[in-house]
Point group: C2
Chain length 333, copies 2
Amino acid sequence: MSGRITLEHGSGGALARELTEQVIYPYFQSQDYPELVDAGSFSLAGPALLTTDSYVVDPPFFPGGDIGRLAVFGTCNDLAVCGAVPLVLTLALVLEEGFPIADLHRVLHSVRSAADEAGVRVITGDTKVVPAGKGGGIYINTAGVGRATPGLELSPARIRAGDRVLVSAPVGSHGLAVLAARESLAIGTTLLSDCANLHPLCAGLAELGPALRCMRDATRGGVAAVLNELASTGMGMEVLEDAFPIRPLVAAAANLLGLNPLEIANEGVLVAVVAAGAEAQALRILRGHPLGREARGVGTAVADRRGKVVLETTIGGRRYLDMPRGLLLPRIC
Amino acid sequence: MSGRITLEHGSGGALARELTEQVIYPYFQSQDYPELVDAGSFSLAGPALLTTDSYVVDPPFFPGGDIGRLAVFGTCNDLAVCGAVPLVLTLALVLEEGFPIADLHRVLHSVRSAADEAGVRVITGDTKVVPAGKGGGIYINTAGVGRATPGLELSPARIRAGDRVLVSAPVGSHGLAVLAARESLAIGTTLLSDCANLHPLCAGLAELGPALRCMRDATRGGVAAVLNELASTGMGMEVLEDAFPIRPLVAAAANLLGLNPLEIANEGVLVAVVAAGAEAQALRILRGHPLGREARGVGTAVADRRGKVVLETTIGGRRYLDMPRGLLLPRIC
């Protein structure tokens, strides 16, 4: 099957079945998913976590990744930061009439390799087709189920004054890489999305036990949004602008575009809050993995300034780092 | 919060958080989902089923239902026909810039009431915003987890010659109701979608034990698509055109529009295959529930005509009822 997606591919008739059987299903057929049924089976005992994310990134292919890789890692990361081991995924496609079937193959291949890399299986799916002008080429939703880690309790409510805030990797790459690809900016060829599977970092930090307070992946709204969300449960946060790892290219491009790297979306940056005494061990764990080599402590939870994030700036001033407002970068995930 | 959805509602910043906290989350906050986190927790022991469906119905509100009700029942039905008890759902919204927030409230209210009716909980969600001209007002994805019923093995591979094919309710209403609403056809006011929660019927039939071979909900492609799918695993199917329950209004409208009611999507029609000796009991079970009052036996599995569905027509002729081809009705779910 080649050419482009037509409305008939979404009709539920013969062509829809051919698309599923010949194009989509072959990427995921397995012992665990031996026939095309309405639901895939899995098994688990005890507490589990369920999450979902839709991906509407524009363009669907960008330096360092694509919508398929994003859809797998993004959803697995949502489970991982909650302390779960990702197990199984759904894959729901909303295709726009006219989308090239070759591009669909490219995305599906990417979904499968990312799933293999993350150790999860896609066990069920769905495909809808919307008319030209009612979609964005391809939108993907993945939902994921993970096995909760017994005894691991993670919540911003567990943050105490003096706790340290760690960031696992340089910030701002993903949003800028997508923007560069969309607007054909020259920086696009060297700036790569950081799209990655954060589970190894999360599982490593889980060894800290109760000293690990909570984790977040800093996607839409960047680290600024995450820090404000964590502060909103009661603590204040004091962070050092200089402490955040930022690649020079990202800093330069963000400066040129008038964007704050701390507000730009990432797809491979973990924010973790740990007890002060566990900071050194946490950084050793993070830096022991290729994704966390540049991990840094960036700030401290404080008892005053409740609900606020205070940024000590490079030039020595202090200002609030607010929850981002305004348009930011739309459709970066 | 009132007015319309803007791109900023999808940015991950302050306005996105307000939309989630003030508009969406209040419909689903519960003891089981006490705070806004990336993943919702649930618990089950043993075999489970996972399913997903995206809903892109146009228009989102139609006589007898709306996209919210569809998104809950459709996904629960996919679990129910596989013999599972639906437990928890995800809710992922893709909103188009300009979508009225009042309509969003209407959809969310509908999701919540349908979930209550089906006995499931929405425990996690996601919201994305796409620019005007890149969406359809509102698209919804729901994924669902259900508890598998131990010992209940359902598969088209279990169909034997002589088995009977049952249909639980009149066919063709949903697709025509949506089409009428979309095209402002006059039939739209009296023709209602059959959108319904099929789990009570499925759970009832499960009492048949091994005599229940398999179940399907006849959505896209109608009963014609389901029968062909069941036949594709090896058996032939012989069905009587006259035996299918069809409301006179649906028959008349389909005739006028040149559509075959057997190819029109339903959202509340169960197709079940049972051992011949269990047909009477199966019909009693179905007819004992308001959704199954008009249940009928419509045909028989046969050893010849493998992979084919033969329709004995009203005027006494015999023809193949093929897997639907062509455009059918796009965006009816």
